[in-house]
Every structure is written in C-alpha cells, then in structure tokens.
Symmetry: D2
C-alpha cells in the first residue's frame, strides 16, 4: 500500500526553504453504504475524513511512528489543519473501490501541504489538499499552540 | 422546547434506590441531506448522534448547567455510555421535521437510563435508550474512572 | 478475514422456524482520529457505522454477492434495520486495533438478528446487535416495502 | 435568522454573465460533543456538513422552496458540488455558539459559488466556499446529469 515513487514534479518558487517531496502513501478502500447520500454518491464531508486518515497514515509510513505516538515522539501538540480543499471530478458510489494517494507536496519552515489524489477505475475522481502546521507549545504561553520549525530529519524521511 | 410533563408511568421494581423521573426535554429538528443514506432515509448511526446531543441538552435543561461545564460543576469526569439501543418504527427522510423527547426514566445509585422518543407526523418513529454512568476519578487509581454516587440534588432537579 | 467457525452455541427456543447460524465474518480495523470524541475514545454512533459495514461484508462473505448487487440478485429492496443495540464494556481509542466478529445469530421467516462482537487486546470491548428485515415490494402496494420470506438457499449458506 | 444585507462587495471580472448577489442566510448553532475530536475541537469534515446544510437553507430562504422540493420545483436533478474549500482561522470547541453566514458570491450560466463565513465570539473562525452546478438531465443521455442554465428568476431572488 505504500510506495516511494517520485513523479516528475516542478517545485513552486516559494523561496529557499520549501522542500518538495516525492514519498507517496497509497491506500485502497471501498465506499460504504454509510458514506453515501440520497443521490447514491459519497457525501462530500466523508472525503475530508478520508484525507485526514490518509495524512496520519502517510506520516506513519514515512516516519515509522504510529499516529497516536507522533506528538510525543516529536515533542509537538499536533498537526492542526489550517486549510482544506477538494475538487470533485467524478462521483464515487456504494461499493466502488477507490485508491487514495497522498504525499507532502511542499514542506515550509513550520507548515506543509498534503496532496490527496483519489482514483476510481483508472480516472481521477477527487483532487484534495490540506495545509497543516507543525505545532508545539508557545514559548510565551505554554497553554497556547504555536507553529514550530519542522525538524530536518522529518523532512528528510519524505525524500 | 422544554416541558416538565409527568406521564402516567409505572416504576420498574428495581429496589428502593431507583427514582423514576418525569422531567422531559423536547427538541424539534429537521432531517438533513447528510443524515440520509442511498435509500433516502436517516442512516441509523445518526439517530445515536441525535440521542447523545439530547442527553446533554436534557441535563442542561434540568440542571441549568451548560454541557461543557457539567463535569467541572459536579466534580466528575463525564457521563460515559454503557449501553445504547433503538427500535426503528418508521423511517425519517430528508426534510422531515421530527421531535425528540428525552427524559431520565430511572436513576440508580451511580447510573441512570435515558429514554428518547422520536415523533414524526404525530407517530412514533424511533424509540431509543441509553444507560450512562456518573463517573469520577477512582479512589484507588486517580488515572482511572469509576462510578460514583449521583448527588441527591441532581436527581431532585429531574422531578 | 473470514472464517466459518461454529462455536458451541445453544439455540434460543423461538419455535421451529428459527435457524441459528455459525458462519462468522471477522474484520480487523484501526480506530481513526475522526472516530474519537474529546474524551479520546470512540464516539458511540461510530460503532453503529462499523456494525452496518460488517453486516454488508458478512453477507458478501457468506453469499458471494457484492453489497451493491445484493438487492438486485435476490429481487429485494434491502435489509432495513428495525432494531440496534450495543453494550460498551471497554473504551477504544485512537490507534487501537480492534476486531469485529459478526454472524447471523438467528434467521426467522423474514427477519434475522446479527450479532457483532468487538475485541480489543484480547478482551471484549463492545457487544452489538441488529435486527433486520428481508424486504421486498409489497404485493398490495408496489410503492411500499414489506417483509418477505428469506430464501432457504440464503439461510443455507450461513451454515 | 435570515437577512438580506448587501455588503460593499466588488464583483470579480469574470465576464458579463456573472452576477454577484448579496442575499445572506445566517444560522446560529452550538458545537456538539460529537462534532469534536480528541483535541477537543471540531473535526474538520463536520464544517463541510455545516456548509452543506447552510446551502440548502440559503436556497430555502431565498426561493421559498423547501430543500426536499427544490429539484422537482425547478425540474433539475440537484446541485452537485464540484469544489469545496475552507480556511480554519480559529478553533471551535464543545459548547461554542457559532454563526454561519452564507450567500451566493457569484452566479454564472450554470454554476455558482457559495461563500460561508463562520463567526465565533465576534471573530472569523472559518472561511468556507463551495462551487456547485445547476444540474439537469443530459439531452443526449437522460441517464446522465449535465449542467443547465440557471433560470433568471432564481438568480433574481438572490438580489
């Protein structure tokens, strides 16, 4: 379910700190009855559930750290989402077998973008994206979260 | 949305400590597109979401304590669910206007039953029930939850 | 993920038409971040989603018919749920690996019971149950559903 | 809960057919226990559920047509989503009271954009957007959906 393919990909010109990664996590899953709406197709919020799960699994695959141990392992509070988006190209329905391929498309100093591509019967069904922050305790106020620098060894493991 | 009606109700013979209450909380809501499945009717797990919300609102109505302040107000950890059940008598579909009437049908020393009746067009659509525990920190191990006695003043407010 | 084990099971005395089956479908899954609530444990309606999916997969495993083809294959409208219930014995949290074992515990003329046992770290975490109807078009009113007799060859495949 | 305010808004230059509307639908709601994740804040897919519901309610408020009657009233199949997006500016947690203000930010020939602004304690918490299609039966293949022109009287009702 995991592969390290590095497609021909051109880095966006976002300055010297951005790192484009190629490590891709792929998951196959089947659309469930409860994922679908009265039109018989996946209700859109479900895709954002699929994306969230794939991001956790992508980090597990790249770092070898279980999702529930990620925060403690790196001394952070979590990877809060600041932006989510999706284009719906082709509907998926009950029983359809989809693949969700996810990778970090860009690492910045303390945030990163995850790209999720859902494929159905060989065609793109959904293109999704998330922007997340590597968040630790604020130095000024330990009760608050703040963005902290992503360790280079984390970025390195995404290739 | 709240009323204190006390229907003619016969207490189950569960011993001297059981208290049957009559305080009923009623909420009207409309079935959403996203609540429904490909058959065009509410997907059953959604009813358990509706029940959970109604239990929080029932306690708010009876005790005058906001859900997010309930644990701190009474020095407990929460009201964990130990049993949930529902009979589905009549389907509810997109746009249907339902009423959910909820009450504590029995208080015991440290647990209680909540009864949820969903009505649609004047007829019963779903009969649900929950059994929950009044849970605090264990005396033996403060890391663990254990059932603690429900304060008499809490029970009294349910009439 | 599927096995045909037949545990030592005593049939309830519900008359000559009831058939107890032993065919059990087992699925392993991991608890996701989005399944859990602020207490860090699975929000109860999610278990009913897991049960619904397992019932579809149980029928697939026993009959060799994909869920999305079940209705057409047997000339029915579906398997509507008339009752659902669960006991929560032990909480499951983010990252926990659970097994859901499901079987038809009893077939009656036109309805049946499904039993779902969720195991975590070798112990029972949740005991669930569903009662469903084998539903076709009503003879009197083709717009309506009514319970129809379950074909003997269906029951036979559950052992 | 509904108002027809028209904020000072500058139309994007997308050609002569685009119509910017000012009709805004506002809904207040309370964040539920089941909307939140182990971090104690709303799990992001829930926001897309809130948006979906608000779009239905916005059309109901503007057109005076119940959601479940919208398709039949206008002879369409539905308003399928082709794009969804959200920026998360400030977390919302259990018990928080939010307002979701929704309006069609642009009508094009057969598609439109809905803007959703979620406010919490007077500050923006989430900025969301949807792009949807006014979809009818394809002339070439009645089994398929295709985008059809949005009736001018529909657009007119959004001001």
């Amino acid at each position: 379910m995991t592969s390290g393919d590095r497609p021909g990909y051109k880095a966006p010109s976002t300055g010297g700190t951005a790192r484009v990664t190629g490590f891709t996590f792929r998951r196959q899953m089947t659309i469930e009855w409860g994922h679908c709406d009265p039109a018989g197709i996946v209700f859109n919020p479900r895709f954002f559930e699929f994306f969230d799960r794939n991001t956790w699994m992508l980090f597990d695959a790249a770092l070898g750290v279980k999702p529930q141990e990620l925060a403690a392992t790196y001394g952070i509070l979590g990877l809060p989402l600041v932006d989510a988006r999706a284009n719906f190209l082709k509907p998926a329905k009950f029983g359809d077998r989809i693949e969700i391929a996810s990778r970090v498309s860009e690492f910045r100093r303390s945030s990163f973008d995850v790209e999720h591509i859902i494929t159905l019967d060989g065609a793109r069904a959904v293109e999704g994206g998330e922007t997340r922050v590597w968040a630790g305790r604020s130095k000024d106020d330990p009760e608050k979260m703040s963005a902290v620098a992503i360790p280079p060894e984390v970025i390195a493991k995404f290739g």
